[in-house]
Symmetry: C3
Subunit: 459 residues, 3 copies
């Protein structure tokens, strides 16, 4: 790639087929909006400028792309009326004109498996052979609906025939156009300006290719070895198929890398996730975002891990966690929720209805039951009694709780923040601790027991 190359991503379609209020390119495959996958592939291929054709009045695509790729050079153009693919590209005329001596890549915003490698290999062919236009093609077993690739007696590329225009022998051709193209930018601009509309008033890129061939310019094909790049969804049933296909692909990727996944049921691993060898992923487990998991862990069943870093030998049983760090040897679950900005130290145990939020819990601490640790800094080897609550919210502001090493927190203790419990200190069960407890001391705040003998009978 060089500075004069640009990608134009077609994302102007409407969601009639998906019956959605949102653009179809925002439909997710394996947790990621399709337009994001396509944009990512273009950027990873080395293209530095992008133009995205969005529906009239779009805010959602723009805000997604700006959020995900804040530093990329991306311009947005609206397609005022839907008059075909060539008409859509023309919306980006201004951006294409800026790279007049370069090349234009046309991508579809709803083909989530397009990848940088295919884009690059096609570019190498396109530029090395000095093609005016290069169509990326693939071979599929079910070509229905795709433009078929025509070849002459010498196997030279001689045109694309759309489904509607194909006769029965043409329909049998299994090499199809992916709808992804490289053009010399001046060739493309010139062709777009001279294109005649079809009977329905539409301007289509297939006709641009025909014109290039007819005018004697050089059009050729790049055959994509990975036919997944053409996959898209025309309705939500196909969209589920794409998702289930992508789900199995990442499962097989991790199996091949040494991860143990005994059953695929309900296991969803998003694309960017890393998992160490001999880690076992149990059914019903969804692993999302930029999560990194170490070796020899047992994750699941029925867990959700998002954007978290998990060490080695960690057990996460029936646990949800997001944006947290869980260090090696931690034993978490069942029924635990670790919320953002939490660091769970080595060999910590959290289990049985425990929630942690925005807290640091150091090595070897145990939080075994029915406890909420929020906005807290907790030392090593602390034992939390069952039912402990860090009272972090006064109704107006949030405050932190600080607990030293080797502290023993009694059951059903309230720690009213801001408060500090010193190293080696104890709190008595059932106490509401509102003042600091010094090191090695006992904080107690409860009434003495009275037995009303025979109370039941009297009552």
């Amino acid at each position: 790639m060089n500075k004069n190359d640009i990608a134009v991503i077609m994302a102007g379609g409407s969601s009639t087929l998906l019956k959605s209020a949102n653009s179809p390119v925002l439909a997710k495959v394996l947790g990621q909006p399709m337009i994001q996958s396509v944009t990512e592939a273009a950027l990873l291929s080395g293209i530095e400028r992008l133009a995205i054709i969005v529906p009239s009045g779009d805010t959602q695509i723009r805000s997604l792309i700006k959020k995900e790729f804040p530093d990329a050079d991306i311009e947005f153009f609206e397609q005022s009326v839907p008059l075909g693919t060539a008409h859509a590209v023309l919306a980006a005329q201004e951006s294409i004109e800026a790279v007049k001596d370069g090349n234009v890549l046309i991508l579809n915003g709803d083909t989530p498996f397009i990848d940088a490698s295919t884009i690059n290999s096609a570019y190498v062919l396109h530029t090395a052979m000095q093609n005016d236009a290069t169509v990326i093609t693939a071979t599929v077993t079910k070509p229905f609906g795709y433009g078929r690739i025509l070849r002459d007696a010498n196997e030279h590329f001689s045109g694309i025939v759309e489904e509607a225009d194909a006769d029965s022998s043409t329909k049998k051709i299994t090499e199809i156009s992916s709808g992804t193209y490289w053009f010399k930018s001046d060739v493309l601009l010139n062709a777009l300006h001279n294109l005649s509309p079809r009977a329905n008033g539409h301007f289509n890129l297939v006709d641009v290719i025909s014109n290039v061939i007819r005018s004697g310019m050089k059009a050729d094909t790049f055959f994509a070895p990975n036919s997944d790049i053409i996959l898209g969804a025309n309705d939500r049933i196909q969209l589920m198929e794409l998702n289930e296909y992508a789900k199995m692909q990442t499962i097989q990727y991790h199996l091949s890398a040494g991860v143990e996944i005994p059953y695929s049921d309900g296991v969803v691993i998003e694309k960017g996730v890393q998992i160490g060898t001999d880690t076992c992923i149990l059914p019903g487990t969804i692993i999302k975002g930029k999560t990194v998991i170490g070796k020899n862990c047992v994750i699941g069943p029925n867990s959700v891990i998002e954007d978290s870093v998990i060490g080695d030998n960690v057990k996460l049983n029936q646990t949800q966690c997001e944006q947290c760090i869980v260090k090696s040897g931690a034993n978490i679950g069942p029924f635990v929720h670790i919320r953002p900005n939490s660091v769970i130290g080595d060999s910590v145990h959290l289990g049985n209805f425990v929630e942690v939020k925005n807290s640091n819990i150091d090595t070897g601490t145990k939080v075994s039951h029915l406890t909420y640790v929020g906005d807290s800094d907790v030392g090593k080897r602390v034992n939390f009694g069952c039912g402990t609550v860090t009272v972090n919210y006064s109704g107006k502001a949030k405050y932190r709780t600080t607990i030293g090493d080797d502290v023993f927190i009694g059951c059903n203790t309230n720690l009213v923040a801001p408060v500090t419990v010193g190293n080696g200190a104890y709190t008595a069960a059932g106490s509401t601790i509102t003042e600091d407890v010094p090191e090695d001391s006992l904080g107690i705040a409860r009434a003495r027991q009275v037995n009303k003998i025979g109370w039941k009978v009297k009552k």
Copy 2:
């Protein structure tokens, strides 16, 4: 249909094949006993009188049907000994005689996909053509086990041959009898009374059809375009296949209607459920009964929703709820159980080990952790501290808790019902509130903290 038409549902079989203590027609497909689906289809078709043939001594089928269709005109007849399908129908002789100038529909209690549309279309043909008997047929790829439809050189219906009686060419016929029939009632009664038993002593409806044809009366077929209507289960493996088939059918129905279901794993949506567009159903989620879910929700993973009404933009994460209302914008979970007779207001947050029962929780209230709200009426914008318990049971009776707007309940508070906390009031963490707290006041009930300095060392 008119007042003289009646449906006879065959539900007298035993469960040898399913190895169950219960009748096979009580086996569930997509959460509904098969006999219930068949009865529902008959009633939806407009038939006003039903006779159900049940096993000798049955109470389960009777009580199910009476509970589900309390207002329907349904009589039950026992088949004393199992002597074939015609013998079973004869058990309902009394009901059939009451409609002597009408028509009788014979249905099987274990074909859960029979539908009102097929019944009605067959009825239209049956009556318009003045047939004496009309067999509902379908074409299947695997006809094994079904009665095959014979046709003469003019393609006229000429008989049914059962599997056991079929020669090899007959076995190849793929048009089969569904075992569902329309008869003129007098024709049926007459035929039943004059039927000869088979070698094994059984009286079969197939032979009734033969007799009708042989005696020169008019027997014809109605071809059901939806071959699902014949599906049944001879064993539990087939029953699981029926369930998984029905599960995929409803998933595809909702996908086609604009619901997002990225993966089908563990997603079970029962037949009567309604879901709005762009709502996403995540894996491991079971939606049952008469549930209605709005638009743009995220439901699941690993949730169970039963007979509930959910608004728009609701999040239900790892939540179980039944017979409740959750209004728009509510953010529920993970790990929440909402029990019957609860109304969760707009934008309420329930999360992290929270149970709600028989309570109203108004707009914007937050119940964030480890809390039980039972038999309570809670106002707007209330903040529940972690570990709050509404003490609704005295050991003898249940009482209600009333909480006004803008109340702040401290952590680990007991609210001993009956009790009222006024608008804007506070309760201190760790308090057991036994008396009403007036508006804007603070209720506190706890001992003062004492620190026993150096207690650990002394101990």
Copy 3:
């Protein structure tokens, strides 16, 4: 079998293909390491002596087998360098020599579906026909990778050809060697000592068979009707396929026995589990180990049951339990964890964020919300208030809590063990009970409520 028969199990391979740090025979199928399944099959067939060939330096296989089969007569031999299957068997020379007039069974440690019935039937043939060597064979649709069975014009066994040595017509043979053999022990020893290495320096059992045939001794085949016995995994993708196959096999086994499993999604039932008729297993449920479940239960969704005994009519909803007993009519969940050494009595209710550990809970007791019962003996018809904690750990030792019959424990009560609450006694909500409460008495330990009127405004 007699005392002079021995099985040699090949478990010396390395995990290059599985990309694991552990031996491939430790990979699990349906929760059980493959070497354990193979060892179990050998022992169940009646063989009393086993030799297992392990990798150099192994500790994991040894410790697993010793733990699972503590009383079996099993010797371990290390294969110092991997020089082929015959070389591996020779490592056990010492054990084989001890049974010189007996027979040797060669088993592969990574074929988890080998069964005692196949081993025994092959043995009967092997000894009855006085074979010198007997190859267990099977027919498969995809023979690729397996040794093909050659037969002469009279259909007599004439050799095994490995994949690498097979020509195109041999490759089409679908009868394959399972790699499991019976040998007369002296024949085997003699053949092993006289075996020539292959070009790559390896000594293979296939060549032992060739030598036996060539030398005119009697080699024949035993055709295994169950071709599953040959199944193994060369990589983790195949390992997942084995798991999913085994998962469906046990599901179908239980369906055939009268268990209701409406959907297979996420349902994993390990091999030794027993389940009564009409019990329903819902999606996302894993049942492990030696679990026994009674009749008419509803188990799941999303539950994990391990090594537990469950009575009849039990409901386990979204529950994890291990090594516990749950008696008939108990209603458990959602969100419950029952830990080892717990006995949950008839008709007990545990539900909504309840953990039980090392406790006995007697008939009809209710623990309805947010409670931890640990190290406790609880009587009949006790009502636990929400938020009850048995304070079983002093920071130094664990103590037991004893609760009589018909006790009413108030909400958010701490029971500081060792402590006894007598029959019919009450504790007041919010009390920390440190001393015994006599029968029919009320234990109370809390401060009186004070309302600070207008506190919010002043503040």
